[in-house]
Amino acid sequence: MSFKEFREKDLGRITKTVLISLITSFVVFGIVYFFKLRYIDGLLPKFGFYIFFAILSYALIMPTLKKVRGYESLPCMSGMMIGMTVGMMAGFLPGFFVGATNGMFWGSIWGMLVGMTFGILSGKCCGIMGVMEGMMAGFMGGLMGAMTALMMFNDNLRASGVVIFIIGAIIMTGLNFLIYKETKSFERKTEIEELFTIVVSFILTTLTIWLSVFGPRSALLA
């Protein structure tokens, strides 16, 4: 089995979910911007970059979550790897981008919340081991993301955000390949609809916009 086979058979499904997530998130942002955010002075120069990359991060994680939720009994090792990678990425990226606008406390709270939730949901495909691994990775990723943002605050914060996102994209591509390989001999119990992608993207984007623009922030970013 090669990467070429994965590209031919599974890439269509992944790109479709990414596109739906992106459209949902940008439509939400567009609506909120039109009715509320455009009246806020200097909003896009201050928060636009971080909200944009947070939206891209959610779109990056959605295909994996959607795919593994359809399985119930994957091997333990695969489930742990999936739970850990999704938990870490879903914690680190939102933690970093919210940490850059709201400070370490709210960045880590948001990162841990998203990371642990996604980690648990994706780790469930192999039982309690995957759930525990996802939960722990989400906890660690959320804290690390916000902490990295704070430590980069006086350095190249935006450039590091781009680098971290690209690395996240490479890792998630590798994970999708792993999932494709590991699930080939397993039957899907349930087919998850694209409505799941739309609902989750809507909730995450709405909360991220609210948190970044109107949410509480540390004294450093007052």
Partner: protein, 122 residues
């Protein structure tokens, strides 16, 4: 054309369109000091933070911040992100200077965010 290629084109299109809209440059609010006059503020340390940690200034007024000898460690690396200032003030004579062009509250901190304060511009 395969469906995955169409989706990829769609993704690139959405990212480019919204990227252009959302990724605008950072505002820059530090003006020059044409008159040579300035308000000098000397910060010390009290309760493990800068003291005073609230500085008042007027729009268009040049503010010069110095750190006295009680300020040590990473606290000597003063950062005011909104004015693009990040300078290590080695001695009590070193200073940072800026002229705010807009009213508002601007945060300042040491390089690691351990000590914090605000500059209130009216």
């Amino acid at each position: 054309m395969k469906s995955s290629s169409l989706y990829l084109i769609g993704i690139v299109f959405v990212i480019v369109v919204f990227g252009v809209m959302m990724l605008k440059g950072e505002s820059y609010q530090n003006n020059s000091n044409p008159t040579g006059e300035y308000r000098e503020v000397i910060l010390g340390i009290k309760d493990f933070n800068y003291y005073p940690n609230a500085i008042n200034a007027d729009v268009g007024e040049t503010v010069r911040i110095k750190l006295d000898s009680s300020v040590t460690g990473c606290f000597r690396s003063l950062t005011i992100r909104d004015f693009k200032i990040n300078k290590y003030l080695k001695t009590s004579k070193d200073y940072v200077e800026f002229t705010p062009s807009k009213a508002g509250t601007y945060g300042f901190s040491c390089s690691m965010g351990m000590g914090t304060g605000v500059i209130i511009v009216k």
